[in-house]
Symmetry: C2
Subunit: 367 residues, 2 copies
C-alpha cells in the first residue's frame, strides 16, 4: 500500500519517493523504474536475510545479480566500491543496468557512488531499510565513500530514480538504530515545520510503538520536507546547509568516540540539544521552547547514551577541520524559533568556547 | 591572444572554451575561472618540462600544488586517480579548490574524474596540450579511467568550467601524435560541416606546417562543432554518437594491436576510411566523395602506419563487446554525404562480415 508518493524534479531527471507498507509485494511500485534487462542488488547479510528473497522474486524477469558488503560505516571505502564495479563488469552489466541499494545509509551512499561512476552513470534505486536512511540519507542524491582521513571525502551528487521506503522494514531494525533515526525526524520539525514538531509532541509514543500509520506520516512528512529543500539547492551550496542542524556538534562527538560507541543519530540528538541551548543564549529561543525541545528528545529516548563529551578545545578543533570555523569566522546552524533554522556567523569563537565549557560542566541535557 | 571564445551552456553551468596563442601569458583568461584560494595542477613530466613554470607563475597568489602522473593510457587507472585524491587530502584542499588538467586526453580524463568525485565536485579546468584533446577529448565533460577489462569503464560526465587551447602547445607535440590528431579534425568536417571539409582540403599543407592562424581556425571550428553537439546531448544518449564516426572500427584495430603500435587517432583514420567505403557500398556516397575523403586522409599522412589488420571475425567480436552489435542488430555511424553522419542499423552482420573480409584482402586504403 502506497501511503504517499512524492516526485522531486531536477534539471533533466525526476526522483519518485514512495512511502508505505508491503511495497515489495507491489510490482507496480518498483518495476516501472527499472530501465534495462539487468539489475545489481547491493546489500548486507542482516538485511538480505529478511528482504532479499521478496526483492529477487519481484525481479525474476531480469538478469538479477547480488553483491553483499560487510556491515558497518568502516566498510564505506573505495575498496568496497571497487568490488561493486568489478561485480558489474564480471557479470557484463551494460550502461542500461539498474543498481538497487537495499540497506541503510552506508549501502545507499556507496551504491549510489558506484551507479554514478559505472560507464558514466547507470540507473539507481534506493530501498532504504533504516529510519535514518528513509527520512534523510536516501533522499537528495548525496553519495560517498570515506577516506582514512575523514568521512565522505569522495563522492558525487547523483539522484536515484526512485526511493522506496517501507515502514515494515523498521520492524526488524535494532531498537537503538530506530531511536537514533528519531533524531533526524525531530530535526525536520525544528528546521522547517513547526506543525510537524507539534504533531511529534503528540505522537511520539505511537512512533516509539512503531504504529504503521504514525510511522508513515512521519516518514512521508520528512521525505517531503527534505525534497523541498533539496530541489532548491541540489548541489548543497547554501539552503541545504540548514539540514545540518545538530550535525556540526554531533560530528565532534562522533570524532571523540570510537565507532559504535555513539551512533550518528545519537550524536545528532546531543548536537540538537547544544544548538537549542546556544540559540537560547542568543535570545532566539524562549526557555519554554528549550524545554519543549529537550523534552521531545528525552521522550524519544535520545540524549541518554553514555559517551565521552569532548573538551571545548576538541570541539573547536573538529569544527575547524570541518571548515565550520574558517579564518576566525564561525558557521553554525541555529534556531530562530521552532520550525525556523538559520545559518549564522554571529557567535564568536570565544563565546562558543565558554558555552561548550559550561555545557561540559553541567551535562548537556540538563535544562 | 584569444582567437575565439565559445561558451557552452548546460543546465546550471557554463563552460568557456578559449582557442588562441600565448594564453598562459594572459592572466585574464585563466584567473577569472579559479574560484577558491587553492589549485592542484595534474600533469606529466614531458608536459611539465615546457609549460608548468609559466602556469605556476600565473598562479603565484594561490596555494598551488602539483602532481605528476606517469605517461601513457595504461596509467589511466583507479590507482592513479586515487593518487590525485590522496594528494588533495594531504594538502588540505577544500571543496572550493580548482583542479587543472595540464596535458593530453589521459590527463584530462583522469583529472576530471578526480574533480567530479572530490568532496562531491570541485571546480575543474582543462588545459589540453595535444591536438586530439584540444579538438575532442577536453570538450564535453566525458571523464574516465580504464579497467583491466576495458577502456573508460568508470567515469562520469562532468563539465570543466573552462578549456584553454593554446596552439603553441602543439609545437612541442611529437609529430606522430599531431598527425593522429588530424583524424579527429577531419572527422568533424565529415560528420557535421561540409564547408569545413572543403576548407581542410585547401589548407591541409598549412595545417601540417603548423601555421598558427590555420591551426587556430581548425581547432576553434572543431571546438564549436563539438560544443553544438554536446549541448544537445550532454549525457551521450543519442545525437552525440555521431561523433564516434570511425571509432567502432578504430577500436577493433586498437584491440588487435599492442599499445603504442597504433595510436588512437591513427586507428580512427582507418575507421573513417572503412566507414566511408561501407557508406559507398550502401549507395550513400559517390565514388568521387570516397576519393576526396581518402585523399584528404592520405594528405594528412594518415592511414600509413604498419599494423595488424584484424580478421573480420575479430572485428565482429570487438564490436559485440562494445555493444555495437546487440541481439543481432548492428549500430554503425556512417556517412549520408560529406558533412552528414547518421546512426544506422541498416547493415546486416553478414554484409559487414563480407565487407571487412574484402577490405582485409585488398588493403584498407586502396581506392
Amino acid at each position: 500500500m502506497i501511503y504517499q508518493s512524492t516526485a522531486l524534479h531536477f534539471d533533466k531527471q525526476s526522483c519518485h519517493i514512495y512511502v508505505g507498507e508491503n511495497l515489495l509485494s507491489q510490482p507496480d511500485v518498483l518495476i516501472p523504474h527499472i530501465t534495462g534487462h539487468q539489475v545489481m542488488i547491493v546489500t548486507q547479510d542482516t538485511i538480505a536475510e529478511h528482504y532479499l528473497k521478496p526483492l529477487q522474486a519481484l525481479l525474476s524477469d531480469y538478469q538479477c545479480d547480488v553483491i553483499t558488503l560487510p556491515q558497518g560505516e568502516q566498510y564505506k571505502t573505495i575498496e568496497q566500491w571497487l568490488k561493486i564495479l568489478d561485480a558489474l563488469i564480471a557479470h557484463n552489466h551494460e550502461r542500461s543496468t539498474t543498481l538497487i541499494a537495499l540497506g541503510g545509509g552506508m549501502i545507499g551512499d556507496i551504491t549510489g557512488f558506484a551507479a554514478a561512476c559505472y560507464q558514466r552513470g547507470t540507473n539507481f534505486i534506493q530501498i532504504p531499510t533504516s529510519l535514518v536512511a528513509q527520512v534523510d540519507a536516501a533522499i537528495g542524491g548525496k553519495t560517498a565513500v570515506n577516506h582514512a582521513t575523514g568521512k565522505n571525502k569522495m563522492g558525487v551528487i547523483y539522484q536515484p530514480s526512485c526511493v522506496i521506503s517501507d515502514v515494515n522494514f523498521l520492524k526488524t531494525l535494532p531498537e537503538r538504530e530506530f531511536i537514533a533515526g528519531l533524531a533526524e525526524v525531530i530535526k525536520y520539525g525544528l528546521v522547517c515545520d513547526a506543525t510537524f514538531f507539534v504533531w511529534l509532541e503528540k505522537n511520539m509514543s505511537a512512533l516509539l510503538a512503531k504504529e504503521n500509520k504514525t510511522l508513515q506520516h512521519a516518514i512521508a512528512t520528512c521525505a517531503a520536507l527534505k525534497a523541498q529543500v533539496v530541489q532548491q539547492d541540489e548541489k548543497d551550496l547554501g539552503l541545504r546547509h540548514i539540514l545540518n542542524l545538530g550535525h556540526t556538534f554531533g560530528h565532534a562527538l562522533e570524532t571523540a568516540n570510537e565507532y559504535q560507541v555513539i551512533l550518528h543519530g545519537e550524536a545528532v540528538a546531543i548536537g540538537i540539544a547544544l544548538a537549542t541551548k546556544l540559540s537560547a543564549e542568543l535570545g532566539w529561543l524562549t526557555s519554554k521552547d528549550v524545554t519543549r525541545i529537550l523534552q521531545l528528545l528525552a521522550q524519544a529516548n535520545l540524549v541518554k547514551t553514555v559517551f565521552d563529551f569532548p573538551s571545548a578545545a576538541d570541539f573547536i578543533r573538529t569544527m575547524r577541520q570541518d571548515k565550520k570555523i574558517h579564518a576566525g569566522k564561525l558557521n553554525l546552524i541555529l534556531l530562530k524559533s521552532i520550525g525556523v533554522a538559520v545559518k549564522t556567523s554571529q557567535v564568536s569563537e570565544a563565546q562558543l568556547m565558554s558555552f561548550l565549557e559550561n555545557e561540559k560542566k553541567r551535562g548537556v541535557i540538563s535544562e
